[in-house]
């Protein structure tokens, strides 16, 4: 083997300088390089599809060996969670509807009026620093760089690059991710207990008494169904049939209950949580990399107005320049670190969405007001 020479050193330096030049051109934005990148991605598509087919059995075998116990535990936990969610779903629907009506009345921007599109996660970043996933839809579906991406739990990230048929999504845990957020007060423990009421304000016991004094068939309350774990009867369209109790205009007067004699009836209930979700403070949520929780910076604690504390809720702040619309749930404060000086406290956030297990996501086709005006 030849010894180390000046010629060799020149080749290495030339390659490094070429890399720096390309890096500079690409960071400043170069359409030619973008086209080259798109072209290479297309060339690689059949390679990646074929590799996926070949390696899927090996991957499954590996997961089968290493993740079986975890999956079993997770399955049990999810089953418990599902049982609880079925209970709250019906009442939550009513709350969401009321919330949307109120938003519409106040003419406030919300996620409800923004078109979204579901996409499937088809890949993840191959290096150890980036927290980026790849989804199977791109420019052809109307996706643009900067659009926020959510799942059923809350915000998961934003689109950072798009090709015709794919897009890359930077997750909220990536060290380069920043989004303006609003911290708002969590409901007190005492107030977190849902209070179930009827439109008349009567309690379940009162209504039971009311029903037994009439000749109506036995009535099954929603709470009874959930307590016993019975599956709610569903109609053809999958909705839970609800029979309303007509309240008498005179509280002293009893009225018959309209129910279908053939099947148990479920009374309409409204679960309310008496909360005061007043905004406390605005800040910037920043990701910190794989395995670390995102943090909120640029906060000022003003004890006279509100104290930032563990359990506070975090939602996107919106605003003219923000890439995300307001009120997308982000997470909950699980730790507060006070700093000396004017820096203000740091808040550790536990995101609602589990970004390590993503399958389907929803891209919010939102354009910030500042972009619309341009």
């Amino acid at each position: 083997m030849a010894l180390y020479t000046v010629g060799r050193r020149r080749v290495i330096i030339a390659l490094l300088l070429t890399s720096v030049l390309l890096l500079t051109l690409d960071i400043r934005g170069n359409p030619v390089l973008d086209r080259v990148r798109d072209g290479f991605s297309r060339i690689m598509e059949p390679f990646e599809s074929a590799t996926d087919v070949v390696t899927t059995p090996a991957t499954r075998a590996w997961h089968g060996m290493t993740n079986y116990d975890d999956l079993e535990r997770e399955n049990q936990a999810l089953q418990d969670q599902l049982d609880r969610l079925i209970g709250t779903q019906a009442t939550a629907r009513i709350s969401v509807q009321e919330y949307q009506e109120l938003r519409a009345l106040l003419n406030l921007p919300s996620l409800a009026g923004i078109p979204t599109e579901v996409a499937q996660v088809v890949g993840a970043s191959a290096n150890n620093l980036d927290q980026i996933i790849e989804i199977n839809k791109g420019r052809s579906s109307g996706f643009k760089v900067g659009m926020p991406v959510v799942n059923q739990a809350g915000l998961i990230g934003k689109i950072t690059s798009v090709t015709d048929n794919t897009a890359k999504v930077m997750l909220i845990t990536d060290a380069r991710y920043v989004v303006p957020v609003r911290v708002q007060a969590a409901p007190d423990d005492a107030e977190q207990t849902p209070v179930e009421t009827r439109p008349s304000g009567r309690t379940d016991e009162e209504l039971r008494d009311l029903v037994t004094t009439t000749s109506a068939p036995p009535t099954t309350l929603a709470t009874d169904v959930l307590d016993t774990g019975t599956v709610l009867p569903q109609g053809d369209d999958g909705t839970v049939p609800v029979t309303t109790v007509e309240e008498p205009t005179d509280p002293d007067e009893t009225a018959p209950v309209e129910t279908d004699p053939g099947e148990p009836a479920v009374e309409a209930t409204t679960t309310t949580i008496a909360t005061d979700l007043a905004p406390k403070e605005f800040g910037a949520l920043e990701g910190r990399g794989r395995g670390l929780l995102p943090q909120i910076r640029f906060l000022q604690d003003n004890p006279g107005l509100a104290t930032l504390q563990v359990g506070d809720l975090v939602v996107t702040a919106g605003g003219a320049d923000s890439l995300a619309p307001p009120d997308i749930p982000v997470g909950v404060v699980i730790n507060r670190a006070d700093r000396s000086g004017p820096g203000g406290p740091l808040l550790d956030i536990q995101p609602y969405a589990d970004v390590t297990k993503l399958n389907f996501v929803r891209v919010v086709k939102y354009t910030p007001l500042s972009e619309v005006e341009r």
Binding site: V11, T18, L23, V36, M44, A50, G291
Partner: protein
């Protein structure tokens, strides 16, 4: 130089790199070691250095790094710098012996991969990332280096084939004819 690259190692290196990239983005994203993704493309770049010296290692690292950047959507050249240095460092270490033993090739490949992995956050720092040096880097670098070393018995011959490197042959001096 570009024509020489195309006629020389690129014909084999590019397709092999494409297959490795596809593997990197499928199976090696799923199969991790202590949560660290094994960097097979970086391992090939370092193995090319251990097999063919610093110049060939740098060329292989540059080409593989550009391919990696293009597919991952990273700024073009960011990973290329890291992999060029990985190949060059592995090649420089390999200069201490004429024909490195398999275990020496493992060592050089591992060290080259370690340098490459360390360079990734360094490049990020220069491209504007605020705090690219994660605490996990102390775990990531040894795992990536060890994996590259383990893979080197496969990757060093593969790199030799890609770059058209032949093993050194020791030829006995010609016999002197008696006077």
């Amino acid at each position: 130089m570009l024509a020489a690259l195309w006629q020389g190692p690129l014909v084999r290196l590019v397709p092999v790199g494409m297959v490795l990239l596809a593997l990197q983005r499928s199976i090696f994203v799923e199969i991790t070691v202590a949560g660290v993704i094994i960097q097979v493309v970086l391992a090939l770049a370092a193995a090319a250095g251990a097999a063919g010296g610093s110049e060939r290692g740098a060329v292989a690292g540059f080409v593989l790094g550009l391919m990696y950047d293009m597919l991952e959507g990273l700024p073009l050249g960011s990973t290329a710098i890291a992999m060029t240095l990985a190949g060059a460092v592995a090649g420089l270490l390999a200069l201490i012996v004429a024909e490195p033993h398999w275990w020496l090739a493992m060592l050089f490949t591992g060290l080259g991969a370690a340098v490459g992995e360390i360079m990734v956050p360094v490049v990020r720092l220069f491209t504007g990332a605020t705090d690219p040096f994660e605490q996990r880097l102390t775990l990531i670098v040894p795992v990536v280096a060890a994996a590259a070393a383990v893979l080197s018995p496969i990757f060093v011959p593969l790199a030799r084939w890609c770059l058209g490197i032949k093993r050194a042959e020791w030829v006995a001096p010609p016999r002197e004819t008696p006077v």
